[in-house]
């Protein structure tokens, strides 16, 4: 989802901020470092750290964005537990499309990764063939949205 949303902007995809919070500062996404800091503070910080992170998001992105960011944090505190609690595997298309990224970002080391299914060679080849078309489609979606 993140990769797709960045590709609609025609920008270079850098997903390191997902697993390395410090790398978020190099992201092309506006306010990325503040948002990642807000997530980390909320999930593991004390009240003062959360307040400081909140102030940073508010000053960089505004009060309404702060509220929406808090809601998205709440949403995924729910979704990750649904996925882990029910043991659902990755949907086949996502499993194939994210195989390289998961390896690059170290997501393969997560305990829950044991639930993934193996990607067949034909699926890998098909994904490589489709990938350029998907990028064109996403950029078209981005251009259409910006009109």
């Amino acid at each position: 989802m993140l990769r797709a949303s960045i590709e609609t902007q025609g920008e270079e995809v850098d997903l390191r901020g997902l697993t390395d919070g410090k790398a978020a500062g190099e992201s092309s996404i506006s306010g990325a470092a503040a948002l990642v800091d807000f997530v980390e503070a909320t999930l593991g910080g004390n009240a003062d750290e959360i307040a400081a992170a909140r102030d940073l998001v508010r000053s960089e992105l505004g009060s309404e964005a702060l509220v929406d960011a808090a809601a998205v944090i709440g949403n995924f505190e729910r979704m990750v537990r649904i996925a882990d609690g029910t043991g659902i595997p990755l949907d086949a298309a996502v499993n194939v499309a994210t195989e390289e990224i998961r390896s690059e970002l170290g997501i393969d080391a997560f305990a829950s990764e044991e639930r993934k299914s193996e990607v067949a060679t034909w699926q890998r080849l098909m994904a490589r063939a489709i990938d350029p078309l998907a990028k064109i489609g996403l950029r078209w979606q981005g251009r259409r949205a910006s009109r």
Binding site: L43, A70, F76, E77, R78, I88
Partner: protein, 279 residues
């Protein structure tokens, strides 16, 4: 003649939902914050509290609230901290802190309390074998799915509060005279490639047709053994993230409000990574 004679059991429950929906005094954000909280967020949170107070499909209202209380107690639980550090979360035994509280001791099986704690503090290391073992301890797969929906719904609202610097909302009182759980198991649910049975990907038949319109990803179907858990999920997700029905999920170029879609997904991905969830 009683109300049940007039409306029947199903409708009686609907009346009780309407009564419990009068939780208008809950989630008074405007009095606590200067940041503008969207009305749909407030409404979704109030509906969640109304659902929580009601009988579900497998647990009664008091039982659901006891489960919610246990999930909150997990945050400061010493046993959970010890387990989190252990090589295997199943190698450490003991009693959870603040097991029930609020006079709800013994209301639900110990296995349910343990499940609520594990879902909150160490979800990425849960296993199918463990879920199967719960049945022998009084928590069937359907009980477990409903328990999961209670825990994750409360957890998500609590996380929003924590992020915004708000105190936790007091849990609701059970709806007086709540109806009995219906214990309805969707006939087409089957156990395939997850810990629990789910509805197949195609549009569900009959009274569950509203859950999803057609081929649905695992994450939508995950709790479909208890259809009301999916309805609760859709309600909260529509307020917290994106509507699961309005096509917003596949519009990668637009966010729903001031956050761009990329900013939204960055937050989503970082929360998942911190929780060590690969999904």
């Amino acid at each position: 003649m009683t109300v049940a004679d007039v409306f029947g059991t199903l409708e009686l429950c609907a009346v009780e939902v309407a009564i419990s929906m009068s939780l208008d005094s809950a989630f008074q954000y405007a009095a606590q914050l200067e940041d503008p909280i969207r009305a749909d967020l407030v409404e979704s949170h109030r509906r969640s509290w109304a659902r929580l107070a009601e009988s579900g499909t497998w647990w009664t209202g008091p039982e659901r609230i006891a489960i919610a209380a246990a999930s909150r107690a997990a945050i400061d639980c010493a046993l959970c901290r010890e387990r989190k550090e252990a090589l295997s979360p199943f190698s450490v035994t003991g009693a959870h802190d603040g097991v029930s509280g609020g006079g709800s001791e013994g209301l639900v099986p110990e296995a349910a309390i343990d499940a609520a704690h594990r879902i909150v503090t160490d979800a990425s290391r849960l296993s199918g074998t463990w879920v199967e073992g719960l049945a022998e301890q009084g928590v069937s797969d359907a009980h477990y799915v409903e328990l999961l929906s209670v825990v994750v719904s409360v957890r998500s609202i609590d996380a929003f509060h924590r992020a915004m610097g708000l105190p936790l909302e007091p849990l609701p009182e059970p709806t007086p005279g709540g109806c009995e759980p219906t214990r309805r198991r969707p006939p087409t649910a089957e156990k395939t490639d997850a810990f629990v049975a789910m509805l197949p990907s195609r549009k569900p038949p009959g009274e569950d047709a509203d859950l999803f319109p057609g081929p649905a990803p695992y994450v939508i179907r995950a709790m479909s053994l208890v259809p009301d858990a999916v309805r609760w999920l859709k309600d909260l997700s529509g307020a917290h993230y994106l509507s699961m029905e309005a096509g917003q999920m596949f519009d990668f170029a637009n966010g729903r409000g001031p956050l761009s879609r990329a900013q939204t997904e960055l937050i989503a991905g970082r929360v998942s990574a911190v929780n060590e969830c690969f999904y």
